[in-house]
Symmetry: none
Subunit: 209 residues, 4 copies
DNA sequence: GATGAATGAGTCTTCATTCAT
DNA sequence: AATGAATGAAGACTCATTCAT
């Protein structure tokens, strides 16, 4: 999610902006957003306290910026990779793989995005969910496409399916985060794909249902 | 989830304790845990500020107590209702139904449990997740039982399935909460059960997978 | 201006309120409003920093309250004493005497009212001048009455005369304040009355004018 | 008051100095000295923040310089015009006319001189009053001269008369400023001269006094 | 037990000033 | 000379908690 796709040359301003953002991610992940003090972030970024305010409007904006920056980079990458595929199931798999990879690669970032960024309804309504809708929209698009092509079961509302899929991945990430395992997050992908696509109950018993 | 199964007579102390807890739920839901002030809770409960500390150790303990009280009542009810069933799929359905009912019935409580109670890793590790494990254990037990009885697909790790199911319900609740819909939360149950049990992909295409 | 006319018993709250106000007057007079820190006021009043905010909304409100408290007490006294007189010139004399006495008696208060309370247009428009209008209205009333009775020259606009009289007293106070003299402020009254009532130029030369 | 009597050619440095001073007057008048930020002044003057410090020692010096610059120009003009007159009453009239003209012509400047420049005892003692003494000395000289020549009443202390006259004009200016009238300040001069020279009380009633 | 007035530690933010370029 | 990015000291205010009544 971070790095990689950056242009050859970054302006000095952009470099410092990212240094501060990185410091904020690390500090927020370590101490939590509320316990973190602006001065901690400044020290970690190796700048003066006041400098933070030359790049960000305030503490909350720092948190919002983490979300926005990482998210928009991620969504772009997602769209690029998905565009090249035709099979909806394949698109879904790639989407979830990128999701798990992006977060699995950067534990501190994952912390901030999974937890600190969801600390209140106000914050979620104002920031988290707003951005998340782009992701959910992409996901829903894939599901609807799959239904049209007959690759996905048609008797399930795409809105609900979107929530179930997102909820599943999201919980996977959160429990990986909190359990502090050594497992690679991505390793769970095949199993999860099977479960989501085929369900809990074997086919021959579906009539029972 | 609250009330209902309590004994006939509650001690005056217990009555006031619950009054405070209810006030805390409402205030936390309205303003968010951090923005809520102890004095707000006291006013809502119609007691003096200092009185809160005769019943709870402090602000954080108030939040923990909400979780614990509601959760233990809920888990008890869950176990009682499930014990009477034999079919794992039925158990699962009842479990999720109770989950959705309990939260769908009390929006303020749902707010607190879904959001305020998850505001930091520290809090989740210390309180939220600890209590949640009882719920997750119950869920996992049902899934394992289903696999043993051949009612559930055996090629899926029960740990993963537990997370997927919990993640799905959890997300359902959260999006219901944030969207502020008029929908009854419980109404989504049949659709979700179908999706979880049969998966996204129709049986005849499973080989493709 | 302060004290004197207070009721027999003051509530404990009112006592503490006045203690804080007195501390604020002294601190503002010593260090100036802007240089004064809230913690200075709290220390002087012998209360905790936070206690200030139980009695006043903030630093600015402290300054406004000094003005309002002292001014309303003063205006009341003024009206009471003037009501008993009939001669406009006498009324004027009493008014100015009370003015000079009230401020001459309490140098710190005079400092705050003459200087700190006039630090910006915004503050003057919002607070100082608004209150002052009551005083100016009283003054103007006396002048108009004097003109009607033929005791004061009729060819002078009362609005202008009001300003001239107020400006003269006000400047007298300010220069007394800044010169840090030992003179009693009140001692200047007879001279000033003569000047205001008879003017700079002897009568026999008025035609020259 | 500004410009006018300056030499034909100003050094580039002096030009920029004045540009900054003008910017400071406007910004201080608009936002008040304390609320004004150095960066506001720099922007208004169309120079970089740091440049201000190549011309002025700091924010306070900017305010002092406004006072000094404008005042010394004013005093010079005053002395020149008065020197040509012989009648003390005429001198007084010219002095007050110039005073009212100078401020009436430049509202922003008047703001700064009447209000911002008097924000604290420290500032007044250190700067405002010090410069003002030149003005007051001039005024006092005229009054004493008038008394010697028998044109002014001898039974009034010149010090007091000076204060009364200055206070009257000063208040006139301040109330003109705050009332935000459309009146020309200077228009009040004749009336004020009459009041100051002949007093409030008609001659035939002076014995009453 | 209940009260609620008092406490005081804790922190985000502003902005005058500096100095490397 | 001019720039403007960076600095960092400083302080008003909040609010969880206590404790004398």
């Amino acid at each position: 999610m971070p790095g990689g796709q950056t242009e050859r040359t970054l302006s000095p301003r952009e470099i410092k902006r990212r240094k501060i953002l990185r410091a904020a991610i690390d500090v927020f992940a370590e101490k939590g957003y509320f316990a973190a003090r602006m001065t901690d972030v400044a020290h970690r970024a190796d700048v003066a306290d006041g400098t933070l305010y030359l790049y960000f409007e305030g503490k909350e904006h720092l948190l919002v910026s983490i979300f926005d920056d990482m998210f928009s980079t991620f969504i772009q990458q997602l769209q690029a990779e998905i565009a090249e595929l035709s099979d909806p199931l394949e698109k879904l798999r790639v989407m979830l793989r990128l999701h798990l990879q992006a977060l699995g690669r950067d534990r501190a970032l994952a912390h901030v995005l999974q937890i600190e960024t969801r600390h209140s309804r106000r914050f979620m309504n104002l920031f988290t969910r707003g951005r998340l809708d782009e992701y959910l929209g992409l996901l829903r698009g894939i599901i609807e496409e799959g239904q049209e092509l007959g690759r996905f079961r048609r008797d399930i509302k795409p809105g609900l399916a979107t929530k179930v899929v997102f909820g599943a991945v999201d919980e996977l990430v959160t429990s990986w985060l909190l359990a502090d395992r050594e497992t690679r997050l991505e390793a769970q992908l095949p199993n999860m794909m099977k479960l989501l696509s085929q369900g809990l109950v074997p086919c021959e018993m579906h009539d029972v249902e």
